[in-house]
């Protein structure tokens, strides 16, 4: 448990912003499972668990527009800011803090404890 607690605090370096395509995503493999890091047309960056709230589709493979992504499997649309499915669909996918500093993307593996537990599957 103490190990997970330590991870919960860590900011990890994802890499150059330029490594994520505009209107696209890269998958980051972490202890919390796969995390999709998205980049919008105006270079905002968001991170969500790479699992659609519908049936677990890989959101990283979806089409990004505005600050939303359309899941590749059945076209649910998910809000990048908070992982919420856009109405009328209901559901939510865990989201993670990200920041960009000097062209480098950082991801914080910090979550509410219960969400973190769900994300790592314990």
């Amino acid at each position: 448990m103490s190990e997970t607690a330590a991870v919960r605090e860590t900011w990890i370096k994802v890499g150059e912003l330029a490594g994520i395509p505009r209107l696209g995503a890269r998958v980051v493999c972490t202890l919390f499972g796969n995390i999709a890091v998205f980049r919008t047309a105006d270079d905002q960056v968001f991170a969500l668990a790479d699992r659609c709230p519908h049936k677990g589709g890989p959101l990283s493979q979806g089409m990004v527009f505005g600050t939303r992504v359309a899941c590749p499997l059945h076209d649910w649309v998910v809000e990048l800011k908070n992982g919420r499915a856009v109405a009328p669909d209901v559901g939510c996918t865990p989201s993670f803090p990200v920041r960009v500093e000097a062209g480098v993307v950082w991801l914080k593996l910090a979550l509410e404890p219960n969400v973190a537990a769900a994300a790592v599957g314990v």
Binding site: L23, V28, C29, D42, G57, M63, P72
Partner: protein, 811 residues
């Protein structure tokens, strides 16, 4: 910042719909105040008929209760009639003195029923049929032992009132001035059938009778006609028509004709004042059905929200009678004249009558009695101006008979139990749809699709869902002729395409800017469409936008439900070699591919490949000469062949070689939707060429070319395009057909629906009759292919777009 003030006069269906649309677009822009003369929240007026008939209660038909207004911070003045508008001071004043200032005013005052100027019209017991109050008065009379009801007017509302009162136990006579009922919607045979159906339920009719007076002291006692006949009456319902309610607008000096005159943005002649609904006159037309009003509401909200680009261009109307158990549907212009021809189906014993009026092979109007399942289908063909010459023979038998594998006419939706599965793809049953409609207040097919997913996949249950919708909330199906490409724009597919060519728009950004897209980078619907239109219009010049490709086309493999991919190499004409098979086998072992499957398209599918392995799999396959089969793309898929004259004892031509030549010519082409081909060596047709987009059947004297087949959700057999002699001709016609389809069909429209829309005759004219045109089309195809025939797998195996296939490892 203080918010702008929007005042709405009229708490009915059009006004509140506009407010709902506005809240969805710009929830914080206005401070909203609503005046309603009726003392209620907003309710579904359409459903007053089932309330009168005892099939629904008032509670069932409330759309927005008072809590809804409170929740959205809308001030509701219910029961207050606005008497004056002071346009200079921008203030409205109600009868009780309540006054409100506005920045924008929305008039949605609806219509008022026409009251014939008869002696006795003011007697107690004489009512109209418009609002809850009217219904309550009718029910009070029926409940207090009133026995005789006379309904004046045999139109839609009169008949629904008469039916309701009869179901409440009254003895009802419908009086009509003309010789046939619902003459604005029905022709004589249809009206006759309807009349008999209603008579069998105990209604009586007095046609060609004119009312002279209503008799009684304080309460009505009888009705007298001009021919002297008298009928006893405890209740008289006047239902002889409506007129737009324009008193208020007129008194404020707004320009009115029959209705308040508005432009395509629903603005009156005073730019601060908008108007929607039955009170409006737009391009000379007034409307009395909700579907057009909802379309007005959408456009008006768009302008109130200052999104500012939508236009309302008028609607076509379809009417459905809401008398349970009696089906009547009417749309468009149903009168015959010299230029028109009618298709008629009549089965008096079953009480079924269907008439379609055609002009230039297009449906102009329809009248259906007894069996209305296909009403929405005919209406769609009418709206889209589909050429129906190829469907003619089956048209009257309905959509089920043109090969829809969906549900046939047998299913009477109203009678289905709640558990009946309506949408097979998404497992949605009737009860779930009805619940969503009632609880979420849905009105349109799109809304039901979004909320329940019913009919959102293959679409074969669309007709059923529309019927459930109609029987639950009344019929509000869309009637606008023009269907925007997606919610980001008001332009249609065809308009966008034309603009791309006419204005030399060569990038996605240029298109969106030129056509004033409402979203900065479009959405998952319009981006792939625009990308395709640009690829097609500017081959070699336009740089494909991989971010606007659906994942399958971006990754050049099919995504599976577990996030792995499938790989299908091209097997030219279905012919392979031991070396190719060995290469496939080795790849399957090396990358531990869980499933190797022979596809329905004469190829081999490697299923369950991890994304990161894709470039390696392709590299290894490429070494054996295998290339992408585009099994993932809106592109040329397979060309199936049979063994043909090389081996088969019946073969008349070398169908295998023909198929391979066709595949070598067409592979790599991006198309509006997927394209499949097949070549059979004789009319036994073992390659199933007659359900392909382009099918070739060899005969002794040459090759028959067939087009527009589809074996998927809705099976469609091909049409015979023509017959040619040589392989070279097959290739030329094939290229020309491909290019015509590529240039003119809408994105995601397969050849089958495209040909049904534009007509086989048109395709023949372009591809068969116009020799120069055909050669030009084929040349354009060849030019485009020079750019398109690059194996995407080889490119990626060599390192192109590497990031797409690799994840980032974090520690």
């Amino acid at each position: 910042m203080t918010r702008r003030r929007l005042v709405v006069v009229g708490n009915g269906m059009a006004g509140m719909r506009t407010v709902e649309e506005l809240l969805a677009l710009a929830p914080d822009l206005y401070d909203i105040t609503v005046f309603g003369a009726e003392p209620h929240g907003n309710y579904n007026r359409i459903l007053l008929s089932p309330v009168l008939a005892g099939e629904k209660t008032i509670d069932d038909i409330i759309l927005n209760d008072r809590a809804w207004y409170a929740e959205h911070h809308i001030r509701l003045h219910a029961g207050k009639m606005v008497r004056t508008i002071d346009r200079r001071k921008k203030t409205v004043v109600a009868a009780d003195g309540t006054s409100e200032r506005y920045d924008r005013l929305l008039l949605a005052t609806g219509s008022t029923p026409i009251i014939l100027p008869l002696p006795g019209k003011e007697l107690a017991g004489v009512v109209t049929f418009r609002d809850i109050d009217d219904v309550e008065r009718m029910l009070a009379t029926a409940g207090n032992g009133g026995r005789h009801a006379v309904v004046i007017g045999g139109g839609l509302l009169g008949l629904e009132a008469a039916n309701g009162l009869a179901k409440r136990g009254m003895d009802v006579t419908v009086v009509h001035l003309l010789g046939t009922l619902m003459e604005r919607q029905l022709d004589a045979p249809a009206a006759g059938l309807l009349q008999r159906a209603l008579e069998s339920r105990g209604l009586r009719f007095l046609l060609e009778h004119q009312t002279a007076a209503i008799l009684g002291d304080q309460r009505v006692r009888a009705v007298r006609f001009t021919n002297g006949v008298e009928l006893p009456a405890d209740l008289v319902v006047m239902s002889v028509g409506i007129k737009p309610n324009i008193e208020l607008a007129k008194s404020a000096g707004l320009y009115c004709k029959r209705g308040v005159v508005v432009n395509d943005t629903l603005q009156t002649f005073d730019p601060s004042i908008y108007a929607v609904g039955e009170c409006v006159e737009h391009r000379g037309a007034t409307y009395g059905l909700v579907a057009p009003l909802f379309e007005q509401a959408k456009v008006c909200a768009n302008h109130l929200a200052r999104a500012g680009s939508a236009r309302y261009e008028g609607s076509l109307a379809a009417t459905k009678l809401k008398v349970t158990g009696i089906e009547v549907y009417s749309a468009g212009d149903f009168q015959d004249d010299a230029q028109a021809e009618s298709l008629v189906f009549q089965d008096a014993a079953r009480g079924v009558y269907k008439k379609l009026v055609l002009r230039d092979n297009r449906i102009r109007g329809s009248v259906l009695v007894g069996d209305t399942v296909d009403g929405p289908w005919y209406f769609q063909l009418l709206r889209e101006g589909t050429d129906v010459s190829e469907l003619r023979e089956q048209l009257l038998f309905g959509q089920a008979h043109v090969g829809d594998s969906g549900h046939g006419a047998a299913s009477k939706v109203a009678a289905l139990p709640d558990e009946a599965e309506i949408c097979g793809c998404n497992g949605v049953c009737k009860g779930a749809i009805v619940r969503a409609i009632v609880e979420q207040g849905l009105f349109s097919l799109e809304e039901v699709r979004a909320h329940t997913k019913a009919s959102s996949s293959c679409g074969s249950c669309t007709g059923l869902v529309e019927q459930i919708l109609a029987s639950t909330v009344g019929d509000a199906s869309p009637t606008q002729k023009k269907k925007p490409l997606c919610p980001c724009t008001d332009y249609t597919h065809d308009e966008v395409r034309q603009a791309i060519r006419a204005n030399q728009l060569k990038s996605m950004a240029a298109v969106r800017q030129f056509l004033e897209w409402k979203t900065p980078d479009g959405c998952q619907k319009c981006r792939p469409a625009l990308n395709y239109y640009l690829v097609c219009a500017w081959p070699g010049e336009y740089v494909d936008d991989s971010r606007s490709r659906f994942i399958n086309e971006r990754a050049h493999a099919n995504i599976q439900k577990d996030g792995t991919y499938s790989v299908v190499p091209r097997i030219w004409g279905g012919v392979t070699t031991p070396a190719e098979l060995r290469a496939i086998a080795e790849v399957a072992e090396r990358y531990q591919v869980p499933t190797v499957k022979i596809t329905g398209g004469q190829r081999i599918d490697l299923l369950g490949v991890k994304k990161a392995d894709l470039p390696h799999v392709w590299r290894d396959l490429g070494r054996a000469g295998l290339v992408s089969g585009h099994a993932y793309g809106k592109a040329l898929r397979t060309v199936k062949t049979c063994v043909g004259s090389e081996w088969c004892r019946f073969g008349t031509q070398d169908s295998t070689t023909m198929g391979i030549k066709m595949e070598k010519m067409t592979w790599g082409a991006w198309t509006p939707h997927k394209v499949k081909m097949a070549v059979s060596g004789c009319p036994r047709n073992c390659a199933e060429a007659t359900i392909k987009d382009f099918g070739v059947v060899a005969v002794d004297s040459g090759w028959e070319l067939h087009v527009g087949g589809n074996g998927g959700v809705k099976v469609r057999v091909t049409d015979l395009l023509c017959k040619v002699r040589t392989m070279e001709e097959v290739l030329e016609y094939c290229a020309a057909f491909m290019q015509l389809y590529r240039e003119e069909a809408r994105y995601l429209e397969r050849t089958a629906p495209w040909i049904e829309r534009v007509g086989l005759a048109y395709v023949k004219r372009r591809v068969v009759e116009d020799t120069d045109g055909r050669k030009a089309l084929a040349a354009r195809f060849a030019a485009s292919q020079r750019e398109a025939q690059v194996d995407p797998w080889a490119e990626r195996a060599a390192g192109f777009d590497q990031d797409e296939f690799s994840a980032i490892l974090a520690s």
